[in-house]
Symmetry: C2
Subunit: 558 residues, 2 copies
């Protein structure tokens, strides 16, 4: 019906907008906001609008410009980061209880500087390079690290000395202490390693500005960091640091993808004796350690699984909680279907031994260039059948559609992920191209683990405003925001991802944030009492967060 009057027009307009947004997951909560939440929502929106002008406007570009980047809300993260942390909106979001982190790769969860410190404290940790490091080679040669058995420790002094024998091991501490002054000395060593384990703006937005090129750099970082991380004494502290820093950012539950490709990890003696069972025992024991630490701090009631009745006393929302943490068993999508069989069996064995830890199964690696899911359909169908026989459940949590391709192998992975019954979808960047799959995801509540900053740095999107997230949300698909590989991208925690998403849309409000947080628990692997406890905890922490917004910004931003 064509409108016949202005009043009629405005009525029809409101109805059309409401219809258009009727599938959104945040509708129910938006209608149900408390009075305080409404006020907090208004404050958030007002700050967003003001900071779009005061911080992110084009007029500030010349002042803040890095290279040729322009300032705008949701701009490229790597050049925006230092500005983001100065904003009021970031302060607020960093205080928000985040719920669960559902898409995170263990190999990239701790800041490079922290990892370096952890590794340097281990005399067993050695480094080698295929060429002497000099001005000519420092930008192209990558270091390899390894915790050696004591019998193989060396007294070599330097990897920058022209006398260095290529590929010979040098104690990491020596290599650092004696790093050539011309290359910056010990700090130069740190910069070099950090640069090899992270993506910098010049790479993402310049030399490697395409999905293919940036994946080369991205993949290479794991080759450097894995030698530092996967040595038992470092690994233990690394996992602890990952847990504690996540708690600090308001994350109360972690569902971690662990790459089980290697069949063993180096034990404390530098021997390859720690099998997958050994790793899971270690992981479990760190969970217990962190529980103990939290108990010392009077926060023991904040763990899922602890039988202690939840305390009604809640000191401060800044006292974040680690509820529980689970592992998604992942393998590389370079395996042959035949080789996959061993891992599927191993995954089942681990699930039997650690039923509380193993939460799912997934493949990792560049979808555009490695094997598509359909290659593995047969063994995966048998894997599902076998679980039924055994009465266990290891749901698929497949990466799928992390691509710009249309009708390519990587894009088509979405069909297979859904046909194979995936519980969630990792990334699902190209899902917006698929009307039927959007409908299925909406109806079956297949939650999409969206990793905004990862997608942008890996060049699937030029910036947040170009990201398909708003389109996915308007289709009523459930979403959990995730950080993916924050140690490489610099988006530690979840505050940065929430920030980028929140500033790039005028539709998103407090109800959206609340929905994303709650859904990160709802679509996690938590069930029954654990899930109830997680929700109860959020219900108690949320009003404290709202109170922070009102108390801190209510007056000044009125």
């Amino acid at each position: 019906m064509a409108p016949t009057s202005s009043a009629d027009y405005l009525t029809q307009r409101s109805q059309l907008i409401a219809q258009d947004r009727s599938l959104r997951a945040d509708n129910a909560i938006a209608k149900d906001l408390s009075e305080d939440e409404r006020k907090a929502d208004e404050i958030l929106r007002r700050i967003r609008t003001r900071e779009a002008q005061s911080v992110w406007s084009a007029e500030n570009s010349t002042k803040h410009r890095h290279g040729s980047q322009q300032l705008f809300p949701g701009m490229e993260f790597l050049t925006a980061r230092e500005t983001i942390v100065e904003t009021k909106l970031f302060d607020i979001l960093s205080k928000m209880p985040k719920g669960g982190l559902l898409h995170a790769h263990l190999g990239a969860m701790v800041r490079a500087d922290v990892l370096l410190e952890l590794a340097l404290s281990q005399p067993a940790m050695h480094v080698r390079v295929p060429e002497v490091i000099s001005k000519a080679t420092i930008d192209s040669v990558l270091p390899q690290f390894r915790g050696l058995p004591q019998s193989q420790w060396t007294t070599n002094e330097s990897i920058t000395d022209p006398a260095y024998v290529p590929n010979s091991w040098v104690p990491m501490k020596n290599a650092r202490d004696n790093f050539s002054a011309v290359l910056g000395g010990p700090e130069g060593f740190d910069r070099w390693i950090t640069s090899a384990m992270t993506i910098n703006p010049a790479e993402a937005y310049g030399t490697h500005n395409s999905t293919i090129e940036i994946w080369k750099k991205f993949s290479s970082t794991f080759g450097v960091s894995e030698g530092l991380i996967f040595f038992e004494p470092v690994l233990r502290e690394y996992i602890r640091a990952y847990f504690l820093s996540s708690i600090d950012d308001g994350i109360s539950y972690l569902e971690t993808r662990m790459l089980f490709h290697a069949k063993t990890i180096l034990d404390a003696k530098g021997e390859e004796t720690m099998d997958h069972k050994g790793f899971l025992e270690l992981y479990d024991s760190v969970v217990e350690d962190v529980k103990a630490k939290m108990k010392e701090e009077g926060r023991e009631d904040e763990f899922v699984g602890s039988k202690v009745k939840l305390s009604t006393h809640f000191k401060s929302f800044i006292q974040c909680s680690l509820r529980a943490t689970q592992i998604i068993y992942t393998v590389l999508r370079i395996l042959t279907p035949e080789d996959l069989e061993w891992y599927l069996e191993d995954c089942i064995e681990m699930k039997k031994k650690f039923p509380h830890l193993i939460a799912g199964f997934d493949f990792v690696g560049h979808e555009d260039t490695l094997r598509p899911l359909i290659d593995y359909a047969e063994p995966l169908l048998r894997f599902v059948a076998r679980q039924k026989e055994l009465g266990i459940s290891i749901p698929f949590m497949f990466h799928a559609g992390e691509t710009l391709g249309d009708g390519t192998m990587a894009d088509m992975n979405l069909y297979d992920a859904i046909l194979l019954g995936t519980k969630r979808i990792g990334h699902g960047f190209s899902l917006i191209k698929h009307p039927k799959l959007l409908e299925i995801c909406r109806e079956r509540e297949i939650c999409v683990e969206v990793c905004p900053i990862s997608n942008e740095i890996l060049r699937l999107t030029g910036s947040m405003p170009m990201h398909p997230l708003p389109a996915i949300m308007n289709q009523g698909v459930r979403v959990a925001l995730c950080s993916d590989d924050p140690a490489i991208f610099g988006n530690m925690g979840l505050s940065f991802d929430f920030y980028q998403v929140f500033v790039a849309s005028e539709v998103n409000g407090l109800a959206t944030l609340r929905t994303l947080v709650w859904d990160s628990i709802k679509y996690s692997s938590l069930e029954g009492q654990q899930e109830e406890e997680a929700f109860a905890k959020l219900e108690r922490r949320w009003p404290v967060f709202i109170r922070y917004i009102l108390d801190t910004y209510g007056k000044f931003e009125a």
Copy 2:
């Protein structure tokens, strides 16, 4: 139903893919391809796959790299252009009959070098600048052109001479002939003007790499070119050049947006006497001129509206045809609603005088920063009512959603465009965010004028693979590919836009191309016999195009 066997799995997979693509406009044609078309489709797909490796692969990036751009199919147009024109796929697409061009702004339809030549031939054409042009000012100062009345002609010699009096008029020919040798002499003048009328890669992908910044440059180009174009003797030749170059690219119908903001145009004497009626008479007379020229060349049967019975003899598909051309009356979205009234009345007057020419009404200008459609809802509703009274039809062809915004003024223009009954949508870049609007567009067959290269250069998308077009097409929304402002972007004709779209998707095939071409007539303003003639013409030209593919590439690419 979960699949129970591999065969079952593959069946379910095919069904799911078919369901997912069931809304696509090219389905019907895909089922109906002739044997030759099937072969041509295979050839096209094979060439696309091969050239993705031989031309667009990352391995070629170092050889072809411009700045820090990487090579990939659908990469940034301005750095890809010189590579595109060397490909086999481009050769094929440049031979394709394109149907209609439905979104094209008259002010940016002729190559800068051609426009310069046209203007230079006019002794009345003068130029002035606010500062002497020197090495220090050439990159920032913009020239202003004007065809002066003879009484005001000057004998000034140069705009680079330090003695130049700022803002004084210099004959364009003098300014060019005497352009300082330090600045490149006459060729330096041409480079300077061309640069002021076009967007170069350093701007789009560097200094102006955001929607706000690039729109500043984009808008400024019109200020330079309008002085050259809108002077009767130039304008006449300009329109002719636009028609002929479009015909050369296989475009057989033009629906041109003309900005009627200025109430007069300079006549041949340099006086502001040519009103909107005068302009339409001029436009009409060029149509007649071109008809006459075509008649001379034995191609008079290729015009819509000519009463001559269509010849069944068809010499060569390279002999393209101009069927007809119509005007969409546009105004700037800076008008107050009150000021709009005059233009709406004027538009009605022009429609009465030139019923065959006036095809629609639209607003132009940056949606992110200028007035939203809702500001004009009242006068526009009255405009619709008035048309009914008068028994005329001037459908809206609104620009809407040419933005990265989510829930912003520009994004919300889509609601208003649809509520006001728009016949087509210009750009509709943000349409993919709106499930209900996608449904309405699909059901009411509101065709979206998608301008791929324009969107990319104006930084709505980083490259073609990031563009929402595949998502829009899978939603069953009808699309016409358009070039928007090719003189500024360098995408003359439609071959480049078809190229970028075709290489960025594995789903698109010959059926997609054919659908896009046919839909550009179906959703044009052609009706009745004119429309039938246009389709008949396409039906005759298409097999010649298919034959070209088979004959030229059938053997070598088998």
